[in-house]
Amino acid sequence: MIAVAIGILVGLLVLSLPVAAALMGLGLTLDILYSFLPLRRVLGDTAWGVSTDVVLFSIPLFVMLGEVMLRSGIAERMYDAMARWLGWLPGGLMHANIGTCTMFAAISGSSVATAATIGTVAVGQIRAQGYNERLFLGTIAAGGTLGILIPPSIPLIIYAALTDTSIPQLYLAGILPGLILALLFMLTVVLACVVRPGWGGRRPRVTWAERRAALPDLLPPFAIFVAVIGSIYAGLATPTESAALGVLAALALSWRLKALSLAMLRAVFEGTMRTTAMIMLILIAAYFLNFIIGSIGLGRMVTEAIAALGLTPMQTVIAIVLFYFVLGMFMETLSMMVATVPLVMPVVLSLGLDPVWFGVLMMLLLETALITPPVGFNLFVVQGVRERGPVKDVILGAAPFVGTLLVMIALLIAFPGIALTLPQALR
């Protein structure tokens, strides 16, 4: 049964069927082959239940929050401010790339949007300031991945929904690893530029007065982050409610920046709904598949098969990491998570691993998948912003950061407290 299920799923996906249709197709086939009762009749109720889930309503809200912030022109100001504050480090503007991505990650869930915006501002500086082109492009691709780890992250919400894990706990768990990872990315740049000083380009000369003058540009995104995350932990709002507050705050901000217009709102609505529709259709199919897998006992069979291998929990975790690392080279990230979580999660729980901790590990694996060739979405986006040269430059430039991500994954496995200290302290 396991081999049949995996075979069908791989087959449908390799044929490039839409992921939602592939998951639904697998669910239907399993239902027809292995179930006594026709379970497919529950699809209508499942679809209605998923579509009206208040927790999932936070998805369009966070997408909209990111869209509004993006179209308010705040990213360019943030980049300039970050360049003034971080530009003195060895590696100069490359730290601004990572820093801006980190801050942007805290208000937006979209990697394309982040990489596109920051890439457009930054790419012109490569030749002008004499940077190593590959490493520079790598910082944008890698920095863009932070969005899915640092809350509010949309993949984290989807993980929470699929595994019935607490969103506030997951958010808290993502903060520290996100910041450490951003620092490790910057450390990677510093190390590279100390070994090869020629890669670092000219650093901007900035006075303290100029730095202080740029501070107000960093304030609005920070304020929105605090409002969204703070209102949850102050006990004032649920994650969905905090997202609604964030959307209104972002609209108020873009009104102050004189970016609010009917054309802008239309673009925001269209972008929000397109992304939401894509995610919701996959989620409806995934919930349906989840239900079928549970009903026919496939999850238990996978758990027993893994247990029969006689691996220690640590060996199993390493096997899971390797599995996702390889899969991530070939598969789009959201689909990868949604398609595998129903089968992997029972194993994780049977080992007694903390689902919150595993959620953070999963986000790190998804981040890695975004920048590993041949299929790494951020690589393609950065290459698209650049509009010249071979994509190989971006792949090679991002390679050191794949190493950094693997170090971070090892750290998280060795010291689960990195993720779990904050949520446990505030439980």
Binding site: L15, D45, V54, R71, E241, E270, A277, M278, V375
Partner: protein, 196 residues
Amino acid sequence: MQRLIGLATAVSRAGAWFGGALVLLAAAIVALDVVLRAALSVTIGGSDELSGYALAIASAFAFALALLDRAHVRIDTLYAILPTRLAALLDVLAMAAMVALACFLALQGWRVFAQSWTLGARALTQLNTPLSVPQALWVAGLGWFALVACLLLLRAVMLLLKGDAAGVARLIGTRTAAEDLAEERAAQRVARGGGA
């Protein structure tokens, strides 16, 4: 036929604006609820329920636009290295799968609606909403999705029979990162008033 698809796109785009506005409206109600609760310890109640309906109706109406804009994710690792004609064949297969999914979803959605309608089912909440009202709008969105999927499949098969593989790719092929990016930039330009 092409005009019909143009019309469907225009309607779907309007549907997405409506959906986006609905989401924003629900966000405003939810935010108002939070503020009232924190400041005056009163609650308007039912904002949870309303936002659930907003999500269901808005996303059902946006499924069609995502389909027309080729935003539903496909794994194109193998697809990308196939010759154009084979890829076009996979495109048609993918759209056929989408038609099956959309029709199945619309049909099962209809059953949910019909059941609420005949039983006069109401939500077990303060608002006591007759469920058939939001479900009717939801099923209408699902039905539109199924209709647009059928239309696209029909057009794609016609193009395939004419041997126009490039036309199939333009209509229903997978999106490349470059296309995503171009669109993202165009949207940002629009938002800033013509690139000023």
